[in-house]
Amino acid sequence: MARTVLTWWIPLLILQSFLLAIAFGSNEVEEEFSESLLLKPLPDRKVLAHFHFENRAPPSNSHGRHHHLFPKAISQLVQKFRVKEMELSFTQGRWNHEHWGGSDTLSSMNAKPVGVELWAVFDVPRSEVDTSWKNLTHALSGLFCASINFLESSTSYAAPTWGFGRSSDKLRYGSLPREAVCTENLTPWLKLLPCRDKDGISALMNRPSVYRGFYHSQRLHLSMIDSGMLLEQSLTVVLQPDTVYDGKDLQPSWSLSSLFGRKVVGKCVLAKSSNVYLQMEGLAHPEAHTLLKNEEFELSIKPDRTLRETSSVLFIFDIDKSSDSEPFDLSLTWKLPSKWSCQQAPLHASRFLMGSGNERGAIAILLKATESQDKLSGKDITNGGRCRIKANVFQIFPWYVKVYYHTLQIFVDQQQNTSSEVLKKINVSPSADKMSSGMMEMMLELPCEVKSVAISIEYDKGFLHIDEYPPDANQGFDIPSALISFPDHHASLDFKEELSTLPLLSKFKDKSLVRSYTEVLLVPLTTPDFSMPYNVITITCTVFALYFGSLLNALRRRIGEEERFLKSKGKKTGGLKQLLSRFTAKIRGRPVESPSSEPTAAAQSSVLSSKLLFKIILVAGVAAAWQYFSTDK
């Protein structure tokens, strides 16, 4: 039933789009939408699926505020906050740089840190950047059902100058490593697509299969280009095909339906182009005539085109031809065991904590040479014949990790290096308590033959106010990922053939910076006793009352009087009687006759003390009288 409704709707939609095309036919530039899916078997028996949706809109003034395909929510963001460029990513899982690639375009663009990462460049005066950022985080928070608004506070974002790879003083960067990414974030993201996940390639995004993967990262990149706005949405998933181990060490065979549990039934009718790519790396015989009929593997569908690149082969499939009766279900069957390795970044970065206890520690970033470095060392001979690898390290420290920048140490091949040899440039903006987070940007220049570089920096753990701890205080606090980028290395696919205008491929052909994010670190902080505020307040105040009272008492005490008082008390039993006798003595103007053993000393000081006692009694009497009369009325 539903299928028949759909078949009715599609021609209608096509008709509508034709009508729209006629109505705006006079305009040269039109809104364009294209969808594509890249599939790539990975060396560790996994499959990478990269969905890419591109949405172009002409400059807003030509169409007013109306959009056909471009999501209105995003264009409003651009108008309101003057966003020049923005990238938001939601990631779960960690990109495995060793097995999934470190220096190709796919990994350098889509390997993102865990949680939410947001950066944006604004087109506003410098003083208003922070306000725009705050508003943007709130807007995005509402748009994507995520707590991006936590990036609003100045303690959670930073303004990178050059370490991020983009030099702009209107750039703000923030990340939330703790954010749990789930389907509630994917749904609003899919809502931005013209066909949502109802039709076309995005129909493959079956939630259980997407979230079952080892890694998934949904990304939204918005940039203002000459021809208007460009919105790129991409979802990168690493999936494990379900196979039984057959003992022959074959790579697992898979099909779209086995990976996602769904098939592609026709393209999204609003899309200009709709392609599926299959990228095969490390083929034994990458010659064109052996590709389609080979002993290594078998494809279920004959590719429309085949593109060769330096290290890989790309099969292009057009899904226009698929239909309800003949769904597009690409499958790959391996026949022979095959082994290959991915392109690696020049250095593999990892980060860890050192030290124990909750008082202090050290953060270490370890850069280890990878296999690809040998290849690079031949290529990058620059200044004076010495081969150098440049690496930028960009790191944000939350304020409760109080970093001592003077303890920065760099070990090259396990030998401590005086900073100036390796460290070419450093930019530090220290964190202020409860005010702003710290940021460190370093430019390292390393010899190519380097085996390992360790950067360590010491820190003290801060102590927070009881209200500043999250509900699960004992879990610890996250330090956002460090970003290691290699400014001299660019990732791009180098095709031998001339390309037609296929959006994803033209994207891949552009050079992009090789970058890798390190792990998120979990720092346990000391917690106060959360149940103690009242006890602490009362105990401390008691101690200070003790101090104040006892010191004041010591200052105003008269020892002589007290001794006399005690003696007279010992002599006369009744307190009232004694008081009366004293009172009468006062009235008679004579001192109390104290029968003490040394009358001389007592008589000497009794003048003074009797005066004081008289005053006290007088005050007491007045008070008693006043009390009596006041209660009487």
Binding site: I426, M532, P533
Partner: protein
């Protein structure tokens, strides 16, 4: 400690040169400890280094300054810019490639020795004044009486051999320098070197703000002269004793004009105020010069005095404020800040009225109170007031609870690292363990202050009683 003092005193009497042997051996002990300072790791103890006195923070401030940033950028350094220029270059000295704090340690050892010598000077003056007053009151007959203890030597040795001082010196906290400035102010006032007193006071205030309350005792010292029993006693005594050979300023004045009013040397005090202004101006100009490229003086005051007064850093120390302000509701934070700071000021006036005749003792009490109610106290502050306390061994000989207090201080200083270890390193204890220790320490300090004050007042009373008995006998 009191026991040790007693023994030391006994030995002092036997051989005067013993003092120098003990002093030198304390210096040697420090030097030996310094060579192991890397293993002792004292500089990271919360009891030794507070956010204000930590050498690591100073090194960080110096690094930031070298990187052409304001030393107060970030929340690391909160000390004086002058100290940064003085000690900063020493923190980056390297021996065999490793950063070494050897030179810094030597500076602190020298500061400790100087402080001890200045204390000895103060003590000698006080001892002389004590002997003189005792003879004036007719309590002691011979000028060379054996009953008077050499309080200067005792105080200097207590300062040098106090474990708190040693730990602060070896642990590279800047408190030896702060203590030196305070002792310099007192020494200047006792020896009536007005510019020196003003310099010490201004520097001490500049370094740690709290010594500002010492203005009152220093003015009393300059105005009224050294510690003496209350003037009334002299007036009573003069009726009995006809001739009066006096050199003390107070008794001289009293002789010339037999009134109950103590003469006040306005001229000296005005001189002192003038010098305070001169030195403050110097400090302010130097600070603004060294910070001219960065935030300037406004930032300095915000990051030093503002940091002290607003208690922003909640890392644990031996005081009680860190936990209090970590737990107190934000709504009441300002109220309690005011209450606690005013607590120091409230006691100044009563103490000044009651102990007007003993300005040195007043200074000691003020320092003890400020170390008790400081935002970021360390054992260095205790070391200072404990050695000042030793200046009054003659007067405070019959102080109550001295053994109890000795045990208390010992127990707290042993338990504090244990509790800290349990809480921070092992995770088997919680913050209340360490806070309980801090509360205990605060209580012992309170008992110490109160008992010292009452012992001094009792001593004056005893003098009075003794004096009146004396009169009766003579009559």
């Amino acid at each position: 400690m009191t026991k040790d003092d007693g023994e030391m005193v006994e030995e002092q009497k036997k051989k005067p040169c013993r003092f120098w042997i003990w002093a030198l051996s304390s210096v040697l002990f420090r030097l030996i400890l310094i060579s192991f300072s890397g293993n002792l790791n004292l500089s990271s103890r919360p009891e030794v280094s507070t956010p204000l006195t930590s050498i690591r923070r100073l090194a960080e401030g110096y690094w930031l300054k070298q990187a052409s940033m304001s030393p107060y950028a970030g929340s690391m350094y909160h000390g004086s810019p002058l100290l940064l220029s003085l000690l900063g270059p020493l923190t980056v000295q390297r021996v065999k490639g490793q950063p070494s704090h050897l030179f810094c340690s030597l500076v602190f050892v020298i500061a400790d020795i100087l402080s001890a010598m200045l204390l000895r000077g103060i003590g000698k003056k006080l001892q002389m004044a004590y002997g003189l007053n005792a003879r004036l009151l007719g309590l002691v007959k011979s000028p060379r009486d054996k009953g008077i203890l050499p309080c200067g030597d005792i105080a200097a040795l207590v300062y040098l051999w106090n474990p708190f001082t040693i730990v602060c010196c070896v642990g590279l906290s800047t408190s030896p320098i702060e203590n030196l400035a305070v002792i310099l102010a007192l020494n200047g006032a006792v020896t009536r070197r007005v510019p020196l007193a003003a310099f010490g006071l201004v520097m001490a205030t500049h370094l740690s703000l709290y010594p500002a309350i010492l203005t009152i005792p220093v003015i009393f010292l300059l105005g009224y002269g050294l510690d003496a029993p209350p003037l009334k006693l002299f007036l009573q005594t003069r009726n009995v004793e006809s001739e009066n050979r006096s050199t003390s300023s107070a008794s001289k004045q009293a002789k010339s004009k037999p009134t109950a009013h103590l003469p006040f040397l306005w001229k000296t005090v005005v001189h002192f105020v003038f010098w305070v202004l001169v030195w403050s101006l110097c400090v302010v100009v130097l600070c603004s010069l060294s910070l001219s490229k960065h935030g300037g003086l406004e930032e300095m005051f915000r990051r030093t005095y503002g940091f002290i007064l607003s208690i922003e850093d909640l890392s644990p120390n031996i005081g009680v404020f860190w936990y209090f302000f970590a737990e107190v509701f934000d709504f009441f934070r300002n109220f309690f800040l005011i209450v606690f700071h005013v607590n120091i000021l409230f006691m100044l006036l009563p103490l000044a009225i009651r102990l007007k005749h003993r300005p040195c003792f007043l200074a000691f009490i003020f320092l003890a109170i400020s170390s008790l109610l400081k935002s970021y106290p360390s054992v260095g502050d205790s070391a200072l007031y404990l050695s000042l306390w030793a200046l009054f061994v003659n007067e405070l000989a019959d102080m109550k609870f001295s053994f109890f207090l000795f045990c208390g201080y010992l127990g707290v200083s042993l338990l504090s690292p244990v509790m800290h270890n349990l809480w921070i390193w092992r995770g088997t204890g919680n913050a209340n363990f360490y806070f309980g220790n801090a509360i205990g320490y605060a209580c012992f300090q309170i008992v110490f202050v109160v008992e010292s004050v009452s012992a001094m007042l009792n001593h004056d009373r005893a003098l009075k009683r003794c004096n009146s008995n004396h009169q009766k006998v003579e009559n």
